[in-house]
């Protein structure tokens, strides 16, 4: 049994506090809404949303947060974010959602500078297949993140890649394979220290990415957010449909001209 991603507690000053922990993604996003709703039953305002222990949140999680915040606002309650990483704040503001939340000023801080050239040749690669089961999506994310972490990246960059890979992987599992555990999602990723390329393939028939329009600012809907977030956070997102569906994510890890990275 996994640890619940959201717990509700009452702080010493009598305010309800919802603490998110671990990964929040499409699988448990509903839990977040439930938790906020039950916290809203308590007196005390604003409701505090503690994100300090949140390790990952995908577009479903964000959507859940926004829905919860809107519901709270409709009931005249505020939702205050605490310990949100800049990446999450960036996503909320980029989608125009910040207005639903109360954010402590000091939390929006510039990210520390990282990524000085290692001065050595770097080449790493991973390639694996994984059954199309929803609870394994985090494994995909973790593997890419692990490789990226070895390069000691800017945390925001790590969050961005994490989000995009999570979106791509969950699309592959949920839409490409329809969560059929007998089907396999193939993941390939490679980095030379300057650029990261991730390819996620599923045997599904694919779709027309041009038909997936970006959501209006502040608009909330079920689908479509994933690709929007990928495009928001990655330098390049391309789809190909030669063998099933393959999404290729490219992220520059350092300033300077992008280097073309070929996956072996």
């Amino acid at each position: 049994m996994e640890t619940p991603c959201a717990t509700v507690e009452i702080t010493r000053d009598g305010r309800p506090r919802v603490r998110l922990q671990g990964d929040v993604d499409f699988r448990n996003a509903q839990t977040v809404r439930e938790a906020v709703r039950s916290a809203a039953l308590e007196a005390g305002d604003p409701i505090v949303l503690d994100l300090r222990c949140l390790t990952f949140i995908d577009s479903s999680g964000i959507s859940a947060l926004v829905r919860a915040a809107r519901q709270a606002r409709d009931r005249g309650r505020g939702l205050r974010l605490e310990g949100a990483r800049p990446h999450v704040l960036y996503l909320l503001s980029a989608a125009g959602f910040t207005r639903f939340f109360q954010v402590t000023e000091g939390e929006v801080m510039p990210a520390p500078q990282h990524g000085s050239d290692p001065g050595a040749r770097v080449w790493q690669q991973l390639s694996f297949t994984i059954p199309a089961r929803t609870h394994l999506v985090k494994h995909i994310r973790a593997r890419v993140a692990e490789m990226l972490q070895s390069l000691d990246p800017d945390p925001q960059l790590l969050d961005a890649v994490n989000l995009a890979v999570g979106e791509a992987a969950s699309n592959a599992v949920r839409h490409g394979c329809r969560e059929d555990g007998n089907l396999k999602v193939r993941v390939r990723s490679s980095t030379d220290g300057h650029t990261l390329v991730v390819e996620i393939n599923d045997p599904g028939p694919g779709f027309d990415p041009e038909q997936v329009r970006s959501p209006e600012l502040g608009e909330l809907r079920e689908g479509g957010m994933g690709i929007y977030f990928m495009r928001l956070t990655m330098d390049d997102v391309t789809y190909s449909f030669d063998e099933g569906t393959t999404v290729r994510l490219v992220k520059r890890l350092q300033e300077g001209p992008a280097r073309e990275l070929l996956l072996a």
């Binding site: 040749r121 770097v122 790493q124 991973l126 694996f128 994984i130 394994l136 494994h139 593997r143 070895s150």
Partner: protein, 777 residues
């Protein structure tokens, strides 16, 4: 009788003329339809009766022999003898008859032979009475004579001669026609005889049959009584009877060989001309003596010549005195020409056959040699090669056994034997050849000398080898095995109990095999030497048996690619670090054989040294890479997976330098994944960074390290591939690691149909289901 009506005085009446016309018509009809003699006979009778003559006769001219033949038809009272005598007179070719025959005068008429005197004497004239000779004219020439004799009391008038002309003309055409037909028949006969002989001569491929056929055919189509063929002997001076047909002379001399110039055939051979001898019985020359004794009167001899070369003589003989026409002589000469060509053909055929036979024999030898060579190089292992050589030598000599001895510092040592029983093999291996005997043997069978055929075990230098007699070896072929002019061993092929020679071609073939063998042996020895070294090294790379780990089981297998009979560059290592953790290494050095093996050893111990120094796998690979770049052959690259496992917790840190990603079967999640590659292969360049990853192995998890010999196993153009391996591992993951690795190896080998081209190394590490937890510090 109507004839009574024709009184001499009424010969010129109209009635007579009418009869004459009638007669002419009848004769014309008859002449165009019947054969020559009945026609002439009819003509003679009709003319005699119609013109009331006493005698009518027809003679023909044989232009071929320039004489008058006949009478061929006659009607009248004269005796046949008288007519023939007349003909003989005519033949003399003089006088009025000859003049008529030659066309010098239109006819000859004599009403008073007794007074004339110019007419030859004979029965016709003796009887008296008028006589006339008219030419029988063909279309172009005179072909005969018509003789008429009138009543003894009467005379023949010029008019009557004129009346005869149409008949003479008619008879002339008939004769000419008959001559023409006879000539045609004769020519056709000649040609068909020649054709028959030609056909007969070209249908034989064996010389005796050919000659017999020629003699028989010539006898058949000619009037000869004896035909014979004499062929020139190899010395070109002697002729020998090969075949004859017809008479079988009882004289033994007839069958004996004779020299050119002797006998009639010898003269024809010497002069190279067709020679016809007639009237032999009147001849007294020495050359014709034998022919006379046999009883021949006529002999024709034709030389058998082919492009100026005398092959022999074709002879024919007749018991009669025959006048041979030009065509008949030609026939013999033609047959002789044809026969000469046919003899040459048959000899050529024989020669071709012989050459083909020789060629086939050579080809057989080559096939044997090729087969042996292939068998020899089909394997690189020394023992297999020696067996192939021994087998090849017995095959080349069609014997049953072969023994090989090697020459080294200790003397001549039994090496390997072939074709003998197990008891005999033991007996062979137990042989101890005394130094002195070996030295004598080697002097005799020195490297530069050809093989020696031993004809008896007592023959020197074999006498000292007592065991030869014991074994019943009565004859054997001894072959030196020499490499670069140095004797390295001896081979003996034999068949016990049998006294036999070794034909030259067998000796040659065996010597060729032995020549190849010595080199092949030397190569195998060098190879075995290197392989022994490499194998010893290779063995030292394998993890020490019985590496036992807490909470984990190990399974391992390493199979060098046997087909190439090479020692590969795969190696793995499992060793304990001072801090209690366990290091796992799986690596693949590019290259094979001894050089790769030596580098492998260096790399292995370099890694061990760094591993003790630094806990981080990436740091160890960084150092190892720099070390390899500095010290190891720059053409060598090494892919390596290096991991460090804490057996208490299952925590594994690893770094992977371009090695095939190890597979990890996760028990909890029921799937199989591959670990990362965290840097390029080692030895590429010093300034690369490797990275460490961590993974925690949970109970039941299985880690499989392997080299590309597994995933690159091929069936046709198809690779086994990582996906198949993943699927197989998922299926097998529940079992024990040693079973898993052997099962994987068997499956992959079956996929490649037993033909694995590369080394295969497998190392499986499985976390036990139940763990012993470390004592809390």
């Amino acid at each position: 009788m109507e004839s009574a009506v024709f009184a001499p005085e009424s010969r010129h009446t109209a009635d007579r003329l009418r009869r004459l016309e009638c007669l002419q018509e009848v004769c014309r009809v008859a002449g165009s339809a019947l054969k020559l003699e009945p026609v002439l006979q009819f003509l003679c009778g009709a003319v005699r009766d119609g013109l009331e003559l006493d005698q009518v006769a027809v003679y023909t001219l044989d232009r071929r022999v320039q004489r008058i033949v006949g009478p061929v038809a006659a009607a009248g009272a004269l005796a046949a003898d008288g007519l023939e005598a007349w003909a003989v007179e005519l033949r003399r070719g003089a006088g009025p008859a000859a003049d008529v025959a030659l066309g010098l005068r239109p006819y000859f008429l004599c009403n008073d032979p007794a007074a004339g005197g110019a007419v030859p004497a004979g029965g016709v004239l003796e009887r008296g009475g008028p006589l006339a000779l008219l030419p029988l004219r063909g279309r172009t020439q005179i072909v005969g004579l018509l003789l008429v004799a009138g009543p003894r009391s009467g005379r023949l008038s010029e008019q009557e001669i004129e009346d005869l002309r149409p008949f003479a003309e008619q008879a002339g055409l008939a004769v000419e026609q008959a001559h023409f037909e006879a000539e045609s028949r004769r020519r056709v006969g000649f040609l068909s005889a020649l054709l028959q002989i030609s056909t007969a001569l070209t249908s034989h491929s064996e010389l005796p049959d050919l000659l017999q056929e020629a003699c028989d055919k010539l006898l058949e189509v000619s009037d000869l009584d004896l035909t014979a063929v004499f062929l020139a002997e190899g010395d070109g001076q002697t002729l020998r009877l090969q075949t004859s047909a017809g008479l079988h002379p009882s004289l033994p001399q007839f069958y004996e060989p004779f020299r050119m110039g002797e006998r009639l055939a010898g003269r024809a051979a010497l002069e190279r001309l067709v020679i016809v001898n007639r009237n032999l019985q009147q001849d007294s020359s020495e050359a014709s003596a034998l022919a006379r004794q046999v009883g021949l009167r006529t002999v024709v001899c034709a030389p058998l010549l082919l492009r100026g070369q005398l092959l022999g003589v074709l002879s024919g003989g007749s018991l009669r005195d025959m006048e041979l026409t030009g065509e008949e002589t030609d026939l013999v000469a033609s047959v002789a020409n044809q026969l000469a060509a046919a003899i040459a053909n048959v000899r050529l055929l024989d020669e071709t056959r012989r050459q083909m036979e020789e060629h086939r024999r050579r080809q057989d030898e080559l096939t044997v040699l090729y087969g042996i060579s292939r068998a020899m190089v089909g394997t690189i292992g020394l023992e297999e090669r020696l067996r192939a050589i021994a087998e090849g030598l017995t095959e080349a000599t069609r014997t049953t056994r072969c023994a090989l001895f090697r020459l080294d510092r200790d003397g001549l040592i039994p090496w390997i034997s072939h074709g003998d029983t197990p008891d005999e093999k033991r007996r062979f291996q137990a042989l101890d050849i005394p130094t002195a005997a070996a030295a004598r043997l080697l002097r005799k069978l020195g490297a530069s000398k050809p093989p020696v055929v031993m004809r008896s075990p007592d023959q020197e230098p074999f006498g000292a080898l007592g065991w030869l007699r014991e074994w019943g070896v009565r004859s054997a072929l001894w072959l030196p095995l020499a490499f670069q002019n140095r004797l390295t061993g001896l081979a003996m092929v034999y068949q016990p109990g049998e006294e036999r020679g070794f034909p030259e071609e067998q000796v040659e073939l065996a010597a060729a095999v032995a020549n190849q063998a010595a080199t092949a042996i030397r190569i195998s020895q060098a190879y075995e030497h290197e392989r022994n070294l490499a194998e010893t090294l290779q063995r030292s790379f394998m993890p020490s048996v019985g590496t036992r780990l807490k909470n984990f089981d190990l399974g391992q297998t390493y199979l060098p690619a046997l087909k190439e009979a090479n020692v590969g560059g795969d190696f793995f290592d499992v060793f304990r670090l001072p801090d209690g953790r366990v290091a796992l290494l799986m690596a693949d050095v590019s290259g094979k054989g001894l050089p790769a093996a030596i580098q492998t050893a260096m790399v292995k111990y370099m890694l061990r040294a760094y591993a003790v120094e630094d806990p981080s796998p990436a740091a160890v690979l960084d150092r190892l890479n720099r070390g390899i770049c500095a010290f190891i052959d720059p053409d060598l690259f090494i892919s390596a997976f290096y991991g460090v496992l804490c057996p208490d917790t299952g925590e594994m840190q690893y770094a992977n330098a371009g090695h095939d990603s190890p597979l990890l079967a996760l028990k909890e999640y029921q799937y199989c994944t591959s670990l990362d590659i965290t840097g390029p292969v080692l030895g590429l360049e010093p300034a690369v960074s490797y990275f460490t990853r961590s993974h925690r192995l949970a109970p039941g998890d299985l880690l499989l390290l392997y080299t590309d010999g597994i995933t690159n196993a091929r069936r046709g153009g198809e690779l086994y591939g990582r996906e198949r391996l993943e699927a197989l591992l998922t299926e097998l993951a529940g079992g024990k690691p040693d079973r898993i690795v052997s099962q994987i190896y068997r499956t992959v080998r079956a996929f490649a149909e037993g033909d694995l081209h590369d080394d295969c190394a497998l190392l499986a590490l499985k976390a036990k289901e139940v763990w012993k937890h470390p004592a809390q510090p």
